[in-house]
Symmetry: C2
Subunit: 168 residues, 2 copies
């Protein structure tokens, strides 16, 4: 049930530790690169890290507003853009939502597994996949700048419980 090859998102794990580790990594990356991980930005990253799921900009905004930050959409969008641009978060196109990066700082291509049962999103390594895609594209003369690979389905736990996916 809890496959050791599965990403943390699909396994019971010490999430507090998981958050702390990623956050520490993100701070280090920001410091190394001279990025300003300001209070809003840092807080948005923390909010994204709370769950292994994607969060919409307006949901993030609501949280920020409650905590005394601005109440207007650009406040959330700008922080999210910053995180995505600097590789600290990813955008899930299918969901119009955002998720914290699992491996900030490491150059990597990722694919995302979105569970339609429990909304968990797992980031899995996709360097090989990306290489395949690159060469398929190259064969047509197309040069890829960036790509997104997103799958919807059922996570191990939802499968085990016979849970059905929501049509969304």
């Amino acid at each position: 049930m809890t496959d050791p090859a599965a990403p943390a998102a699909f396994r019971p794990h010490d999430h507090a530790r998981c958050v702390a580790g990623t956050l520490a990594l993100a701070r280090r990356v920001a410091a190394e690169r001279g990025l300003r991980l300001t209070p809003v930005r840092h807080r948005v990253l923390e909010i994204l890290l709370e769950r292994h799921a994607a969060m919409g900009a307006y949901e993030v905004l609501e949280r920020l507003a409650e905590e005394g930050f601005g109440h207007q959409p650009p406040v959330a969008y700008r922080a999210l853009d910053f995180l995505v641009t600097n590789g600290l978060a990813h955008r899930i196109q299918r969901l119009n939502a955002f998720i914290a990066c699992d491996h900030p700082g490491e150059a990597h291509h990722a694919a995302f597994l979105v569970c339609s049962g429990c909304k968990t999103v797992a980031e899995i390594p996709a360097d090989e996949l990306r290489a395949t895609l690159d060469s398929a594209a190259a064969a047509t003369g197309f040069a890829i700048e960036r790509a997104s690979v997103e799958a919807v389905g059922l996570c191990p736990e939802c499968r085990a419980q016979g849970r059905a996916g929501q049509p969304a």
Copy 2:
């Protein structure tokens, strides 16, 4: 420059013929499956086929309205949903837009190459890619229902002309 391995979208070609062929195929598929390719739906498919690019629902709607169909968003969204559901069109998540399927009726997994220079979108076969993704997911216990693979970059022509991609 005009690589024979490139999809039609990236090559100069007899587009009228290209449209006619796909349309004929779509009609046959619809007939075989007892699908009702009504006037709005057929027209939407024609509109999508006009260019090898993705079109937003509101852009489609505008065209429909001009031609005497309904003027409200659901008119376009419903026709587009029908086409997507029945494999006659695809949704490009990244663009919130739709494109006619190149191979209606054939079971296939596709990846999309979106040119940021000229907005051309090419559908390329991705069965192998999908198999790789499936097994990577399976290794984590995740069962994929559907996946989207979308790449942004420069098409052969835009590269040849040194055209730059728009940030979008």
